[in-house]
């Protein structure tokens, strides 16, 4: 099979290069760690550099492919690989961009964060392996590959959360993550098996074809399967009710890992959910017109509203900043679910595109916020809101960046989060789903309350006497500032990127 990329006739697997880059990087990391003179003495610089380069490479190639039109109607059209087990299209490349950029930021920041820690090579290896899994999730087009790639991203994540072996919170979070993850995976795989039972196929397009038949479909089995699959993805995206792992895992994990999981992993979970539900189950959900067999759109609406509400309300009462961010991450999962919930709108591509853009912006602002937490952990200042008092006197640049992140997360027009939330609101308005719109507004308003608590602490409160910032780790700083810059730049540049999201989304709706 041959595809035409920018005038070159190349083998079709070339479209998968961004994911391959990540995979090869992971292998290289293991090789590097295997050939050093004594076990466990690999150079942090080499490892971090290699990981960052790999992630950056995946990001750049995916972005370049997007520009070239690979996988998109104006270029090659969707590239089917391995009999439709994997597919490279606009949406997969878009999410590889998100995963790649977040991974690059995280590995860059980890260079300083891991200073003096054991098992650095394992850390980077796991991060890149997970990133590989996430990028494959973006391309997975069959329930089997979806499950495998999902596990490829999950298993390293469990280990990463528990990376700080001597830290009780880290180990506890990792264990809970593992247990909840095991339960969720079993729910997911059970759901997959039921869908297979109902449709006789694992490949998503084949599933859709089988289910289009109508009367002969065993709706009961299919319904149970779909709901279970939905909840399996809810685990990956940290949506209610499978969000329980998130607060503890994010809080306990090393902050760069929290950033990685809450941004990239969530985005990957969403792309899988988008693809499965829009490729395999559109007719089942009644999107093609007619009564839905299984009303998963309403189920997602319920999950979206509950997720937003639980995430934001719980975040409002936290005392620790990191845990607050963890809950806010749950809340944002609810916002992103609007992309699947508000599909009654006439322009479905717009709805899904808005959700994708929100995930892109969220990738930067949320990663940045967690990396700022990494910075504070590096400095050894406490975790509560009070511990941040007067931090701006010591680190004005980082605090300014954090302010950009938080206000953008809240949806103020200081970063791209404003426009993406606006688009989501417009999407709910288009769909006439006042419940979603009202939930979005109410929760955003509430979120401003707890985000501004951090800002208030940093800028307005007086610093406590012993607040002392002694070092300014350059790579962590660089990662935070880059994230802040991109978050801010996405405000004016939003219009540059949104067309590719809308195009990529529209394709799924035929």
């Amino acid at each position: 099979m041959v595809v035409d990329i920018a005038g070159f006739q190349v083998a079709d697997w070339v479209a998968l290069v961004p994911s391959l880059i990540l995979g090869v990087t992971a292998m290289l990391l293991f090789i590097v760690d295997s050939i050093e003179p004594r076990p466990g003495t690999s150079s942090n610089t080499v490892l971090a550099g290699l990981s960052t380069l790999g992630a950056l490479g995946a990001f750049l190639v995916a972005g370049y492919f997007l520009v070239l039109g690979v996988g998109q109607p104006r270029g090659t059209g969707a590239v089917d690989l391995f009999n439709g087990q994997l597919v490279v299209d606009g949406m997969s490349l878009f999410f590889v961009v998100i995963v790649g950029s977040v991974t690059a930021l995280v590995t860059l920041a980890s260079y300083d964060y891991l200073e003096g820690q054991e098992y650095q090579a394992e850390y980077y290896g796991l991060v890149i392996m997970a990133a590989t899994g996430m990028s494959l999730m973006a391309s997975a087009n069959s329930l089997a590959t979806i499950f495998v790639s999902l596990e490829l991203s999950s298993l390293p994540s469990y280990a990463l959360v528990a990376f700080l072996k001597k830290n009780r919170g880290s180990v506890e979070g990792g264990l809970k993550y593992l247990l909840v993850g095991a339960l969720s995976s079993s729910v997911l795989v059970y759901g997959i098996s039921l869908v297979y039972a109902a449709s006789g196929s694992l490949q998503l397009n084949a599933v859709a074809d089988a289910l289009a038949g109508g009367s002969s479909v065993p709706v009961g089995i299919l319904g149970v399967g779909i709901i279970m699959v939905l909840l399996g993805f809810a685990f990956k995206t940290a949506s209610v009710p499978f969000h329980f792992w998130a607060p503890e895992a994010y809080e306990g994990a090393p902050a760069p890992v929290s950033a990685f999981l809450s941004s990239a992993s969530k985005a990957a979970g969403f792309v899988v959910a988008f693809r499965v539900f829009l490729t395999a189950f559109p007719e089942v959900g009644g999107l093609a017109g007619g009564d839905p067999m299984v009303d998963w759109v309403t189920a997602v609406t319920v999950l979206a509203v509950v997720t937003m509400t639980v995430g934001n309300f719980a975040a409002a009462t936290q005392e620790k900043v990191k845990r607050m961010l963890a809950y806010s991450s749950v809340g944002h999962a609810g916002y992103a679910l609007i992309g699947l919930a508000a599909l009654n709108a006439p322009d479905q591509g717009f709805v899904l595109g808005a959700s994708m853009m929100h995930l892109l912006v969220y990738g930067f602002m949320n990663t940045g916020a967690f990396l700022f937490i990494a910075l504070t952990e590096h400095w050894g200042i406490g975790r509560t809101f009070q511990d941040f008092n007067g931090l701006s006197t010591q680190a004005p640049l980082a605090c300014a960046a954090m302010t950009v992140f938080l206000f953008s997360l809240a949806g103020l027009p200081i970063g791209g989060g404003f426009i993406s939330k606006l688009y989501l609101l417009a999407a709910t308005a288009q769909a006439g789903s006042w419940l979603l719109g009202a939930a979005l507004i109410v929760n955003s308003a509430l979120s401003l309350f707890y985000y501004s608590r951090v800002v208030k602490a940093m800028w307005i409160e007086d610093p406590s006497a012993d607040l002392e910032v002694d070092s300014y780790p350059s790579s962590l700083y660089a990662a935070v500032v880059i994230a802040a810059f991109v978050t801010f730049a996405l405000l004016p540049a939003f219009g540059l990127l949104s067309p590719s999201a809308f195009d990529a989304a529209s394709v799924l709706f035929g």
């Binding site: 264990l175 809970k176 247990l179 909840v180 339960l183 969720s184 729910v187 709706v219 009961g220 299919l222 319904g223 149970v224 709901i227 279970m228 939905l230 909840l231 209610v240 009710p241 499978f242 329980f244 792992w245 607060p247 503890e248 067999m293 299984v294 009303d295 998963w296 309403t298 189920a299 509400t309 639980v310 309300f313 719980a314 975040a315 409002a316 009462t317 936290q318 509430l446 309350f449």
Partner: protein
């Protein structure tokens, strides 16, 4: 070619520039900013005269002008309200511009004597205030729409606050300033609602339609109201007639406040705490005139509502009489003048209400001249008396300050309405119009006019009395104090403006000697012709603010018609004679009581009435009671409501949020088996709801 109309905005811009210059550079100037003000107002005067000449058709072909200059809020949708700033020039505007800039110039010059020579401090602030005051009033005068008028109306109010409270270190002025501001503001609330109402109803606030090449491109709201009335439309569930009345009354709220009409007149006597030149400016040309001018400006709208007209006439007549009686017992020079102002503006309102448009404008003009004169004369006396304003401490100043005396006498004769001084002609016309329209109009409206006329007529007597009581006490008899025996001399900058105005007060009435015109058949009623415009075409057709149009409306809509119970000429003469003889009677009574070397207070003879009058009919008292007994408890209740209910709801929401948050938080128990249980339970729940109940099985 750039005609006069292109420079109209500069008429207001010049004083505004003076305001900036005085404010920032005033302290570096030898006269502390007065130079800028004098130059600017002189420039404004020149431009105003040029504008007036253009309107008269002498220096150009176009005799009116109405353009939008600047759009500051553009309505996007079709039919959306667009807010603009623009200029409307017609004869009324031109006349008012000349009056305002003339008075402003004279007040600036006079201030040199009253403020600079007395060694006051803070003069840049003073001249800046005067500049802004003048600029606001001028811009108000040439506003072409209601909202712009409102903005400058408010600015005028602000400036009066700043200037009345100029001596802010003393006790009286700040409180007087506050009172002036708050009382006029009370009226302005209604005005603002009226403005919003007009915009909401008609979508425009234009006073006059804008035309381009003979076709109307933007209609004015009085015209639209007229059409609505003809077509029998209804607004917001009210008939057009009722709704126009409501809007008219709302706007009238602002007028009553600004023009110090009953019951919102109480601020004006207190405003005497400000520097006397400011009082002259406020009373003669700017602030107080703004209210009456506004009614004249949108007269085409008020004529559509007979009810509003009757209310205006009654308020006017009552205020005229009411204020005149209070002026009778006042002891301080400026207080007398203050009540006379209220009373005289009552006459103008009476004229407007009873269909005497020309009479009202005429009286506005003459009053501006002679009231400015009287205030400046009073200022001169006050300089001489070392800022003692009590008339019982004066006396015999006639010989010691002749210029002041003779000019003041001219102004007093004008105020009292003695032929042939200005006030006679205008006041006579006001009363005459009220009389004939009272007889001519049918039903209640005519009766109302006659009642108002009777009050106005009675006030003539009191006016004559208190005016000459003031003159005799101040200038005649023997000097009663040492200061009065040896008053401080005043300079040219006081005498100059006085002379100009003194001559004006004697002669300005000549512009519209209607009785003479009617008797002799000579066409010397210039003002009437000025406001009438040509019979066909010309500016009245363009702007629909001409007298022809108003007379039509009066006849057709309001049902106001003249009638002459004794024949036209006889009625005219009788009316003039009655008012003149009443005025003379007032003068003679004053003369018999107070023209003696050692006058004594005769007010005690009034008994209980004296107390009543001295306390201004307890107007202040009842308003204070209203404020303290009604408003404060109301405000408390509102505060309770705000604190209890509104804040309570807000606080409640936030505490409910936080409470819910803490409940949600509690779900996260930390025990992983609970999580698994909850996850499984919710899975089951979803399955039940969406698969079993959803009809899946």
């Amino acid at each position: 070619m750039a005609g006069a109309f292109d420079f109209v905005p500069a008429i207001a811009a010049l004083p505004l520039l003076a305001f900036v210059v005085s404010l920032f550079a005033g302290q570096y100037m030898p006269k502390r900013g007065a130079e800028a003000g004098i130059l600017a107002t002189a420039g404004s005067l020149v431009l105003s005269i040029w504008t007036a000449l253009t309107v008269a058709g002498i220096t150009g072909s176009a005799t009116s002008y109405n353009e939008n200059l600047y759009t500051w809020v553009a309505g996007v949708a079709d039919g959306a309200v667009t807010l603009r700033l623009g200029v409307l020039v017609d004869p009324l505007t031109a006349l008012m511009l000349v009056i305002v800039s003339l008075i402003a110039l004279l007040v600036h010059v006079f201030s040199l004597g009253y403020m600079n020579d007395e060694g006051e401090t803070g003069l840049p602030r003073y001249y800046a205030g005067l500049g802004l005051f003048t600029a606001s009033m001028l811009a108000f005068v040439f506003s072409n729409n209601l909202l712009m008028a409102f903005m400058f109306f408010e600015l005028v109010g602000l400036c009066s606050y700043l200037l009345i409270g100029f001596w802010f270190r003393e006790d009286g002025p700040p409180s007087a300033a506050k009172k002036a501001f708050l009382v006029t503001r009370f009226g302005d609330y209604f005005f603002l609602i009226g403005v919003v109402g007009v915009f909401a109803t008609f979508g425009t606030g234009l006073f006059a339609p804008i035309t381009e090449g003979g076709t109307v491109v933007a209609e004015s709201f009085p015209q639209m109201a007229e059409h609505a009335l003809e077509d029998g439309e209804s607004f917001f569930g009210y008939s057009a007639q009722t709704w126009i009345t409501i809007l008219g009354m709302l706007v009238l709220g602002g007028v009553v406040g600004k023009s110090a009409q009953f019951p919102l007149h109480t601020w004006l006597p207190d405003a005497m705490e400000g520097p006397t030149p400011v009082s002259a400016l406020i009373h003669a040309a700017t602030m107080v005139a703004a209210g009456v001018y506004l009614v004249a400006r949108m007269y085409g709208f008020y004529l559509l509502s007979p009810t509003a007209l009757a209310v205006i006439a009654l308020i006017g007549g009552f205020t005229a009489l009411f204020a005149a009686t209070m002026g009778v017992v006042k002891q301080e020079l400026k207080q007398v003048l203050a009540y006379s102002t209220i009373s005289q503006y009552g006459y103008m309102m009476l004229a407007l209400g009873s269909g005497g448009y020309v009479a009202a404008v005429f009286h506005l003009t003459t009053h501006a001249i002679f009231k400015a004169l009287l205030f400046l004369g009073a200022g001169s006396v006050i300089i001489a008396m070392h800022h003692n304003e009590n008339m019982w401490d004066m006396g015999g100043l006639k010989d010691r300050m002749p210029v002041t005396y003779w000019t003041f006498l001219s102004g007093s004769l004008a105020l009292a309405g003695i032929v042939p001084f200005a006030g006679f002609w205008s006041k006579d016309e006001v009363l005459f119009e009220a009389l004939i329209h009272g007889f001519g109009s049918t039903g209640t409206l005519g009766t109302m006019f006659l009642v108002a006329y009777a009050m106005g007529l009675l006030a003539v007597f009191f006016t004559g009395f208190y005016t000459f009581r003031m003159v005799y006490l101040t200038f005649h008899g023997d000097a009663r104090t040492d200061v009065a025996r040896d008053p401080e001399p005043v300079g040219w900058n006081v005498k100059g403006p006085l002379s100009v105005l003194g001559i004006g007060a004697a002669t300005v009435g000549l512009i519209n000697m209607k009785p003479i015109a009617d008797l002799t058949g000579l066409h010397i009623d210039f003002l009437h012709k000025w406001l009438l415009g040509p019979e066909e075409g010309g500016w009245p057709a363009l702007t629909s603010t001409g007298l022809h149009h108003y007379e039509e409306l009066m006849h057709n809509v309001a049902g106001i018609d003249p009638a002459y119970p004794l024949g036209e000429t006889t009625t005219l003469l009788v009316s003039a004679l009655v008012s003149l003889s009443l005025a003379l009677a007032g003068v003679l009574v004053a003369r018999s009581l107070y023209n003696e070397p050692e006058p004594v207070e005769h007010t005690d003879k009034l008994g209980g009435a004296k107390t009543l009058l001295m306390h201004n009919y307890y107007q202040d008292e009842y308003q204070v009671w209203l404020a303290q007994g009604v408003t404060v408890p109301l405000a408390r209740a509102a505060d309770k409501f705000d604190q209890g209910v509104v804040d309570g709801v807000v606080n409640g929401i936030s505490s409910v949020s936080l409470f819910t948050g803490s409940r949600f938080r509690r779900i996260q128990s930390g025990v992983v088996t609970n999580y698994a249980a909850l996850m499984t339970l919710s899975l089951v729940l979803l399955l039940v709801v969406f698969v079993v109940l959803g009809g899946g099985v």
